[in-house]
Amino acid sequence: MNKLLKLLLESENLSTLQMAEILGLEQAEVESELEKLKAEKVLLGWRPVLHPNVDAGNHVRALIEVKISPEREGGFDRMGERISRFDEVETCYLMSGGYDLLCVVKGANLHDVAAFVSEKLATIEGVLSTVTHFLLRAYKEQGYYLGGERGDPDKPAISP
């Protein structure tokens, strides 16, 4: 794996200047390397990972299991890509097992998500059925444990 990518994955909040210092590169080299990673779609973007409770009063999330009919040429891809294009769909995966697509859908409230599923998703030709699970509470978000575990006041500041 690219050494810049490794650094990005193991540490957060580093400026491009700090990344350059650590890797012994010029800042401009780091910036152009990042642009390259984006152009190659290795790095998709730079979004903060928010605590799911932030603004929780103004949105809900649901996991939607979708069963679809595969197509003669293209299998599940055309449907997967079509469903992914809705703004309401944050994430969409083709799954093994009892259903085909797993979509993470975000809406302002339960009614919005339900309306999206019944009016948009379920009505697409080729969608056979949907099952909606609303998220109640998050314990871990994209690798971030939400229970809190930073620093240990009992750890000595100097030790042999």
Binding site: S11, K155, I158, P160
Partner: protein, 390 residues
């Protein structure tokens, strides 16, 4: 009544030096906003699956003593691990002793093998416990200085010059805390030949073995004919980020392990069972986490060593551990002055090299077991400190 109770303290304990680290610790602990590069342990938390194994052990009611030697399943796992990673074969039944950290293993070994007045060679700068533990076992410590010119490896000629009649043991710690020095293959072969020639028992503390960069770590016990005169000490503290669990192990010829067990059974009885269960999980399933942490230390090492050299503190490239050991002589300050002034003026804590023995003079130990943001800030403050010195 204001009676002096110190008369109750044994003479050989009164004679132990106060660790330079303890004194420094008391100053740093009163400065909450200081950045400490003085910490001799990983900044990573113990990988969760290891901690979870400890919790599960408690849930299953694992709260009793164990065999003095340690849980047999743990000794089997140690045997497999040491075979796989060091190419050393030890029998779980009688050639492996689980100790309460390598610290206890070292102490038990010295008490088991050193007669009053026996001499033990040790290379320094070194971990703070070696010389005091020799003294506590009523032995005489014979230091062998290592130097930056040799990348703080053990120079076989210096070793030969330091040897005296009455030397029974040689303590090795490669990779070395505080210098990051390693023992390269040719020096290792010379040291091994010397040990045979002088009939020395080698006590080899290899706690930093997994944190080797560049070439793979090799144990001196793996050299032909050496297994019979090497006590191999290792543990899970550093590589698996498990310092507080206090699990080490000693591997060696059965009669040596038996002798150490005699000391261990009366002094310690057994290592804590919950920690043993956690160590079992670590050895069986912790390798991926170890490699991930090693890679991060490696990148931090490359950064901090490069920066020390750039700002005018010559620093050799440590080939193991998570310590850099820069040379601060160009500042004109003693290592003590350097550390105290750096802490006072820029709030960065590093440890004076002399805390690890007289040959640490002119050097300081800076741990890079800390996050990039703090490392960058610390080095930038050290640079400012040097500029202010003029």
């Amino acid at each position: 009544m204001n009676e002096d109770t110190s008369r109750f303290v044994a003479r050989h304990v009164q004679g132990l030096p106060c660790s330079g680290i303890r004194e420094f610790f008391s100053i740093v602990s009163k400065m909450p906003d200081a950045i400490s590069l003085g910490i001799g342990e990983p900044d990573f938390h113990t990988p969760w699956r290891i901690r979870e194994a400890a919790i599960f052990a408690l849930e299953r009611g694992k709260t009793s003593y164990t065999d003095n030697l340690g849980l047999i399943q743990l000794r089997r796992a140690i045997s497999d691990y040491v075979e796989e990673h060091f190419g050393l074969g030890y029998h779980p039944e009688n050639e492996i002793l689980v100790t309460t950290g390598v610290s206890e293993g070292l102490d038990a070994a010295l008490r088991a093998f050193i007669n009053p007045g026996d001499k033990a060679l040790y290379h320094e700068p070194c971990y703070v416990a070696y010389h005091p533990c020799i003294q506590l076992s009523h032995g005489l410590g014979v230091p062998v200085a290592t130097s930056a010119e040799d990348q703080f490896s053990l120079n076989p000629e210096t070793l030969a010059k330091a040897w005296q009649p009455g030397c029974k043991a040689l303590l090795l710690n490669f990779p070395t805390n505080p210098t990051g020095g390693v023992l390269e293959a040719d020096s290792m072969a010379s040291v091994a030949r010397f040990a045979e020639e002088k009939d020395l028992l080698i006590i080899s503390d290899e706690i930093y073995a997994e944190l080797s960069y560049g070439q793979k770590h090799r144990s001196i016990a793996a050299l032909p004919g050496m297994k019979e005169r090497v006590l191999f000490l290792h543990g899970v503290s550093k590589a698996f980020a498990m310092t507080g669990f206090r699990i080490g192990f000693a591997c060696g010829p059965a009669p040596l392990i038996e002798a150490m067990t005699s000391v261990h059974q009366y002094g310690m009885l057994c290592a804590p069972i919950v920690s043993q269960e956690a160590a079992l999980e670590a050895l069986r399933h912790g390798q991926e986490a170890v490699e991930s942490m090693r890679q991060q230390y490696l990148r931090r090492r490359d950064y901090i060593v490069r920066r020390f050299n750039e700002i005018g503190l010559p620093c050799h490239l440590p080939k193991g551990t998570f310590y850099a050991f820069p040379d601060i002589r160009s500042t004109g300050l003693s290592e003590e002055q350097f550390c105290h002034r750096l802490l006072k003026e820029q709030k960065v804590a590093v440890v004076p090299g002399t805390a690890f023995g007289p040959s640490g003079k002119g050097f300081v130990r800076a741990s890079f077991a800390t996050g990039y943001d703090l490392l960058i800030e610390a080095v930038s403050r050290i640079e400012q400190f040097l500029q202010n010195l003029g």
